[in-house]
Symmetry: C2
Subunit: 592 residues, 2 copies
Amino acid sequence: MKLWSQFFIPTLKESPADAEIASHKLLIRAGLVRKLSAGLYTYMPLGQRVMRKLTEICREEMDRAGAIELWMPHLHPAEFWENGPRWAASREIMFRADSAGAAARPSREPELVLGPTHEEVITPLVKNEISSYRDLPKNFYQIATKFRNEIRPRYGLMRTREFVMMDAYSFDADEAGAARSYEAMKRGYEAFFRRIGLLSIAVEADTGVMGGSFSHEFMAPAEVGDDDIIYCEASGYAANREKATSALVPADLSDAPPSGEIEKFATPGVATIAALAAAPYSVPAEAQFKTLVYIGDGQPFVVILRGCDELEEAKLGALGFTLVRPATPEEIEPIMGAKPGSLGAVRGTIKNPAALTGIFADHAIRLIGNGTTGANEDAHHLRHVNVARDLAITRFGDFRRVHAGEPCPLSGQPLQSRRGIEVGHIFVLGTKYSERFGAVYTDAEKQSHPMVMGCYGIGIGRSMQALIEQDHDADGIRWPWAVAPFQVIVTLLDPKDEAATAMAKTLAAAAERAGADVLVDDRDERPGVKFKDADLIGIPLRLTVGGRGLKEGVIELKWRHEAAARKVPVAEAQSVIAGEVQRASEEATSAE
Amino acid sequence: MKLWSQFFIPTLKESPADAEIASHKLLIRAGLVRKLSAGLYTYMPLGQRVMRKLTEICREEMDRAGAIELWMPHLHPAEFWENGPRWAASREIMFRADSAGAAARPSREPELVLGPTHEEVITPLVKNEISSYRDLPKNFYQIATKFRNEIRPRYGLMRTREFVMMDAYSFDADEAGAARSYEAMKRGYEAFFRRIGLLSIAVEADTGVMGGSFSHEFMAPAEVGDDDIIYCEASGYAANREKATSALVPADLSDAPPSGEIEKFATPGVATIAALAAAPYSVPAEAQFKTLVYIGDGQPFVVILRGCDELEEAKLGALGFTLVRPATPEEIEPIMGAKPGSLGAVRGTIKNPAALTGIFADHAIRLIGNGTTGANEDAHHLRHVNVARDLAITRFGDFRRVHAGEPCPLSGQPLQSRRGIEVGHIFVLGTKYSERFGAVYTDAEKQSHPMVMGCYGIGIGRSMQALIEQDHDADGIRWPWAVAPFQVIVTLLDPKDEAATAMAKTLAAAAERAGADVLVDDRDERPGVKFKDADLIGIPLRLTVGGRGLKEGVIELKWRHEAAARKVPVAEAQSVIAGEVQRASEEATSAE
């Protein structure tokens, strides 16, 4: 039992100016966190209580999934990262650590970096400690702080420069074992999110800079989410938009026949798809080719899409590049012969085709039989362009962004979309890291093989905020029972009323004996302030003690998620409260 | 219950080459930690279990002492430190954090630093959140990672570049309140160390760079400790050597009268106390003055001691300087007129006395009536020097290092000394930080006052290692029950023996029901290997199941700290084990 007067819950009436979304505002107003600096938050006592409960449930589920807890340093020697596969792609988002007294020293390569995740540490550790198939599989996890040099931290705990994460790393003898570890963790994740009361959906996701063969994100649906989930209720298909595919282009599509010879025509002042779609040219965007030049690991390449489609940059990862960016106009002109706005990929029109590592085309351009594209000559375009006849495509692929309404790849029904907050991510990594760091084992026949790895992450602070985002109302937070900082609040109307104070403590003790964490609001404040604060900080069950009610021999019991309060005679109060607490605890436990 | 085959305890027969002390060797050999790089350790699964138990007990005791848990960022904006009182003294031991991608950028002042402790963060937080006497006292703690750019990490977890620490910060309205907070925390510390089974002594300590008015260190006595404890059994006096005083110089000492006029004499080749003590000069060190030149916050000053005494540099803190260092010969000569070896402080012999901020003398020089000192002329000394007559002392103080055998300042009995490991530290900080950061409150009369602060630290990882250092034998660790990673190990002699395996699991379950954490050694290894490993990792209670014993209807029960094993008939085994577990648990709980 904690007394509010001796605890520390600095609630606020006003939201901070930089808080844009409800959960961020409530985190601050309910006194759960305070901002130290951009992307750096102190977990205040109330927030720390939620974090500890989330951590404990996460630990239980990871143990149950067969993972073993350890604790790795936050500081990593940079050489581990330099020897790993993602240094070039990661170093911009990483912090290096150096002596603070060394500001005047000449700058040099960092000796230490702060870990955003720990593949580069755990893989060499496992290489040193495990060498036989008899010691596999193993799965190690930790719940610890991670660091990320976010340029634009925002949305409270959603995107920060340090954050608490559960990260796990599995090591298996083969792909089948890795798939079993992955499935066990997927079930562990589902149990974790179910137990903390967070609605989350496992969606197929891009593997991004982590590499690896496939992955799922766990998304908490919320309007303010950073990510789009594309899904189909009929088939159960769900994917992050970066990864989503659709059946827009039939797999058995035959190439459209040409419908005339290529014709060059002047297009003065036309530099966009929209301009060419407008009068006097009136070429529908669906019949235009969009020709983009990108740089992948330093080498230029071309991507072609329909004029009406957008490139989904993450899908370029399938081409095997580590770092991808759009080429600049200065890089484009010497290769293509024209500036952006007049680019195309018709055979023979590219000035220096040998400079390109490839011409990659989205499947959907095969829907175009008679298209229009840039002539690689400023202010000129070509019409009657046919994909099969006129374009030298290195490889077709899925590069376009999918939209709601397109047919589901499984059911053919229209896809839907909603926004979500990424709260977890699981990857099959394959042997990318184990080969790089030499994490091999010998099998029963003394043959050596690289271990097959998986990696796993859950954002603990982000889960806390997602819970608030998913369940709040105009008055404040509504915590699920399992993670509420306190489950019961006893609102003592007048702390100078000795009989009421004694009753409040008796009821608090009864709730505590039944298994609840109890806060007694014993502050010298008006009842209205206390009710507002209790709603704001979202305690599931409120007991009101004192005033006219107590004189009439009743106390008031009110659930945060119900509108009506209930009067309970004092004589029955202890047993009613114990009953309510037990019921709520059992409901929460049944999620295990 | 964990199965060894599915857990991960990589024991080693050999100690690593860089491990000098027993506890460091055992940390590695028992698979508790692994070194990632200098001063950076991974807590392996077994070590992490101990760390979690230590953390949980620490949390319980801090809660009981009235402290409130929160969690502050590891990254701090450097400006908080620049605005604080110890930036100059701390920055060399701090890490700064910068983008790892920015190695090629010109070096500049750090924007972020990694916190070694959190006064610079909590004080501004409290300034923003607390303004009334009604919200005081408050005491906040966290159990989190700290960073320190140790130049020479060593002794395993004793001196590392990152480490887990409990740190707390109390805020009171006045000194009396601060003293109560300090006492409550002191009792909390004593309870923590008692419960984890670590012998520790609270000793008076220097406040060092933290500032503040007084402090205690908690020292775990151990031969390999970095610190000297000076103590007296008769009076209970105990202090870190840096802080210790003795009654060597009687408080009522009257100045010795002069015994002759000052005489200069040539001392060619003499540059040390020892050389002047030797023939042909034969001046006892006790009758020599040792004249040292130091730089305090950029300004030179002189310290004078007896030739036989050593300066205790930490005691110079009492002079009010933040940063103190010995002056170089190049700095000394223009001020004193001579090189080190011929220095003195006799009136009129210092070349440029105006350059000195003071001449500070240790009390003990007052024991010298007729002394010898340098003449501030190379290769010359002065004899018949009298303190009262000849030296212009700015201030006397306690600057000498105290040694065992000197009289206790309380009892007069000979002081003793032993070495210890610092595992905790508590400080009354006063208003040093609150004034600097404007952490003030208004009292009932609307008057504004700075809060009076205390700060507190416990090294959690260091406590783990100190436990090993205090209790181990030639075979390995002997964990106290309360923090043992597992309290019971069931050594299954032959995992292929199905009856024995079933019995092992039955007994493990019985021990678990009685409240123990149980490890079953089900590995396919020889019994000798298993016994050695069980002793090495220090599990308090071992049950041996299988082999001839089981055929004869007995299992073996052996306490790690007892030499003899005991045979228990199978029929009684469950209840005997439950009884032993309960007894050990009750003993551990009685320390609460």
